[in-house]
């Protein structure tokens, strides 16, 4: 019933988006800010923005999400939001006692032209920012880019606000992990530790949005990158930006501000991208890849070898965010699957260039991003020629049901399943988890739908 509205015939749409494959910048900024310990994100706009972002993050992480709002009124939208933000900064420090406030804008405050730098300066002059505390900010107009842009902009805001320049560099590597799950950030730290490489990962939402059940409601859970570590990141010898779309701008800003050179890599999802990440860690630190990581890789390759017959030639539809899509598509081609449809609401030519490179061997692939690249279009493509597997966020569940197609949930948001907070998809271990999910989805589907004579005990 729900999707009988989707027609096979595809017409170019210019003005209308149906079932968007993206959301707006501020939620990304809020997520990034939560990755600094003791940081309270603040939404400079109407109350609804903050409420929606908190609700969506809560639905995805099943965790409390704290953030303030400037609670714009009609007056603020006419006269500017300065008074609201000044009052908010005062209230937040007085009542919630954060180490740091990370303000992001909304379409409203951007359009009326509030100058955050100036307002925060005024707050400082007026003594509203207590000694030793900080207020950082990012401009995140909702009508530019997508939630990924917002994440990237807040990472840049963190870099603009916190790291201090140091002539002497130490052995630490900075890692900007991109918009990945808390479990992924934890895994990235584990891999670095396994190699004996000292790292500062920021933002780091592990321990914040996968916090333990303690019987206490904590305003600031124990995780997140300590402010002091981010400040010290200006003295690190190198930065690894994981994900060109979410992380590179921040790494570049750190290079400009503090002279820390950077390397941008794909998100370490899948075997090739993880190899490059591990190699980069080794090259930059001068440390060899330990046997333990080589073994993890070996187990992954073993899995692929054992189960190759099930992956070969399967057609896959992918949607979500650019960094995830590029790495996932590469991984799928590595295991001989065919990512034939790729949709991202996040605009920009850079995505097209990157994904085209990865999909060189899949000439039948269709890719669309930006305006009208939505779940409706994805469904139309599938109606025209079916796929064997769907991979993306929860919004694919309508298509999965309508087309009776196996579905693996990856990306953001996942509103109807759990696991992503606890188990990573990055690294070799993450790749094994992804493969298990893919294989189980395909085999469960086969077992549920194949003729009885073909139901096999052993696969």
């Amino acid at each position: 019933m729900l999707l009988r509205h989707t027609t096979k015939e595809i017409k170019e749409r210019e003005a209308l988006t149906v079932n968007p494959a993206k959301t707006c910048q501020p939620i990304g900024a809020m997520y990034a800010a939560l990755g600094i310990h003791g940081c309270l994100p603040h939404s400079h706009g109407s109350q609804g923005c903050c409420s929606y972002h908190r609700s969506t993050l809560t639905r995805h992480y099943k965790e409390p999400v704290m953030a303030g709002t400037s609670s714009f009124t009609e007056g603020a939208s006419v006269f500017g939001g300065q008074a609201n933000l000044l009052a908010a900064i005062d209230t937040l420090f007085t009542v919630y006692n954060p180490d740091l406030i990370a303000v992001h804008t909304t379409c409203l405050s951007e359009t009326i032209g509030d100058d955050l730098n100036q307002i925060i300066g005024k707050a400082k002059e007026e003594g509203k920012i207590p000694e030793g505390r900080r207020v950082i900010y990012a401009n995140t107009p909702s009508y530019v880019g997508s939630h990924v842009t917002g994440f990237s902009n807040m990472v840049e805001g963190i870099v603009r606000g916190l790291p201090e320049k140091s002539a002497a560099k130490n052995d630490t590597l900075n890692i900007i992990p991109g918009w990945v799950e808390p479990s992924d950030m934890r895994e990235i730290k584990r891999m670095a530790k396994e190699m004996g490489v000292p790292v500062t990962v920021f933002p780091d939402t592990s321990g914040v949005l996968d916090s333990t059940m303690t019987g206490h409601a904590e305003m600031y859970p124990k995780g997140g990158t300590p402010v002091a570590d981010v400040v010290a990141s200006g003295a690190s010898k190198h930065t690894l930006a994981l994900g060109h779309f979410a992380s590179e701008a921040g790494a570049k800003a750190l290079e400009v501000k503090c002279g820390v050179p950077y390397t941008a890599l794909s998100l370490p999802i899948g075997i090739s991208a993880t190899d490059r990440f591990v190699q980069a860690l080794s090259d930059l630190s001068g440390k060899p890849v330990p046997e333990s990581l080589a073994d993890e890789r070996g187990r992954l390759v073993d899995f692929i070898t054992d189960m190759q017959q099930y992956f070969w030639g399967k057609r896959v539809a992918l949607w979500g965010d650019p960094d995830q899509l590029v790495s996932l598509a590469e991984f799928l081609t590595d295991i001989d699957m065919r990512p034939v449809y790729v949709v991202s609401g996040t605009p920009g030519k850079a995505f097209d260039e990157r994904i085209s490179k990865v999909l060189k061997g899949v000439p039948e692939a269709k890719v669309k991003n930006g305006a009208s690249a939505d779940m409706f279009l994805m469904h139309q493509w599938i109606k025209n020629e079916k796929v064997d597997l769907l991979m993306g966020n929860t919004y694919g569940k309508y298509i999965a049901r309508d087309e009776a197609t196996p579905f693996v949930r990856v990306g953001f948001p996942i509103l109807d399943r759990v696991g992503h907070s606890y188990m990573p998809t990055v690294g070799y271990a993450g790749a094994i988890r992804l493969l298990e999910k893919i294989l189980n989805a395909l085999l469960d589907h086969k077992d549920a739908t194949c003729p009885e004579t073909q139901l096999e005990l052993v696969e």
């Binding site: 019933m1 003005a15 988006t17 609700s55 409203l108 919004y395």
Partner: protein, 461 residues
């Protein structure tokens, strides 16, 4: 009282003494407070969303459409157009040059593709600031396409969620009275206002009314149809639930079409029964009253013994109620009492002074009443009062759980109907399940109450 209250909010928190509590409400939120409230758009969107054969076009950046895409478990018995997400996805160039023209094209594409019975166009914050003339676009497209195209003045900054309810009512008022019924309207015809058919609740109520011999003309808005709403002015009575969202429309219909209204609630035995009796009393028809009594007797006789099971086991437990609308808080206080649970903290995002007076009258001395509260206050009060159970919505759930409190979602994400007699049973079951779940024996709770110790290893100590 606790130090967790923001100074400027002191008057929005009160403790009940002698059945009274002086409280300030209906105020804009304090800037910087971690408020649980939402905006005008949110209020309009949730009220109009359940109209299932209309298209709902969000004129603004994609975010406002993405966050409200199919998040309300409101069920349709027919079309499901409302579950799709439509947006003009305004970009920077639209913000600079205006989005009216894009809106026009989007509406044409949308109406041609889906042939809806009406279109609602939601103005978001940005539209209010750049000044698109949404009204004239709607008029133009309505004339061109021959269906109602209704602008919803839901710019987020124009107030709180409650102002959004009013904007939605204004939009509905534009529809009502624009279509005449084909034949005579049955004598005992009512409109149901303010039930959104979450988890199919409206269907339970419809069945009760059907058994009484009452005809439902328009469902506003749960499982709603545009044409029914257009004819709604022919009802004899508006039965209004969710006082916050729909009283405004009921008043308008009374003034414009002379349709009187009654405010009722469908949660808990007392309120549900009163809702049926009130309708019977309005029509002054003995047969209706007799059927209502029979129905109530039958349902209550079946329900009470089932509730006794839960009452025995839940007696003495304490609850926090924090939901959007105050009418719901009031019903919940009574419903909880039926299963032996005392309410120790209660409040709402958008209550009126009279709502808070009613709450104070229902609660024991010492109960804390809050208006437009926030996580810090709520968790502090819950801890201070030793609560076992929290009833709220999506943002409150993880806070309650982290504190080791049971939780029941009485908001959009309820999975079972909670209205009517059937709903009361579901409610008791859900509360019981969460209060008694063994997971609480694995964690030290923050709320002071000792947890029944469970020996490790499944009873083998």
């Amino acid at each position: 009282m606790s130090t967790a209250i923001l100074d400027k909010r002191r008057r929005q928190v009160a403790t009940v003494t002698d059945g009274k509590a002086a409280i300030d409400c209906a105020k804009p939120s304090l800037a910087g407070a971690v408020s649980q409230r939402a905006c005008v758009f949110c209020g309009s969107r949730v009220v109009l969303y359940p109209i299932v054969d209309a298209v709902h076009l969000v004129h603004g950046p994609a975010g406002c459409a993405a966050y409200t895409w199919d998040i309300r478990g409101t069920v349709s018995s027919g079309p499901e157009l409302h579950r799709l997400s439509f947006t003009t996805d305004l970009r920077e160039k639209d913000v600079i040059f205006g989005g009216a023209e894009k809106l026009e094209r989007a509406l044409r594409e949308l109406i041609a593709r889906y042939a809806p019975r009406a279109a609602f166009v939601y103005a978001t914050c940005i539209v209010g600031v750049i000044g698109d003339d949404v009204d004239s676009v709607c008029r133009k497209i309505a004339a061109e396409c021959g269906i109602p195209v209704v602008p919803v003045r839901s710019e987020g900054f124009r107030g709180s969620k409650k102002d959004g309810y009013a904007a939605a009512c204004d939009a509905l008022a534009q529809l009502i009275g624009t279509l005449e019924p084909d034949g005579p309207v049955p004598p005992f015809s009512i409109n149901i206002l303010g039930d959104f058919n979450l988890a199919g609740e409206l269907w339970i109520l419809e069945e009760y009314y059907r058994r009484m011999g009452v005809h439902i003309l328009a469902r506003i808005t749960g499982d709603g149809r545009v044409d029914d709403i257009r004819k709604a002015h022919h009802a004899k009575l508006n039965v209004v639930q969710c006082s916050g969202s729909m009283t405004y429309l009921a008043r308008h219909m009374e003034a414009t079409y002379g349709v009187p209204f009654k405010q009722i609630s469908y949660f808990g035995i007392e309120d549900m029964s009163a809702a049926l009796y009130d309708v019977a009393a309005f029509f002054k028809e003995p047969a209706l009253h007799a059927k209502a009594s029979e129905l109530v007797r039958e349902e209550v006789t079946r329900l009470l013994p089932m509730l006794e099971f839960y009452r025995e086991r839940l007696s003495g437990r304490k609850a926090v109620i924090y939901v959007g609308g105050a009418f719901k808080t009031i019903s919940l206080i009574k419903a909880l009492r039926l299963i032996g649970i005392e309410t120790v903290v209660c409040g709402s995002q958008t209550g009126r002074p009279e709502d808070y007076e009613t709450m104070a009258g229902l609660c024991n001395p010492g109960t804390i009443i809050v208006d437009d509260s926030n996580p810090v206050e709520l968790s502090t009060f819950a801890r201070e009062r030793g609560a076992d159970l929290f009833i709220g919505g999506v943002k409150e759930r993880p806070i309650a759980f982290k504190m080791g409190m049971a939780f029941c979602d009485h908001n959009h994400e309820r999975k079972l109907p909670l209205a009517g007699y059937e709903g009361m049973k579901n409610f008791a079951e859900e509360v019981y399940g969460s209060v008694m779940t063994p997971v609480w024996s694995f964690v030290r709770r923050d709320t002071g109450r000792a947890v029944s110790p469970k020996p490790p290893m499944g009873g083998v100590s």
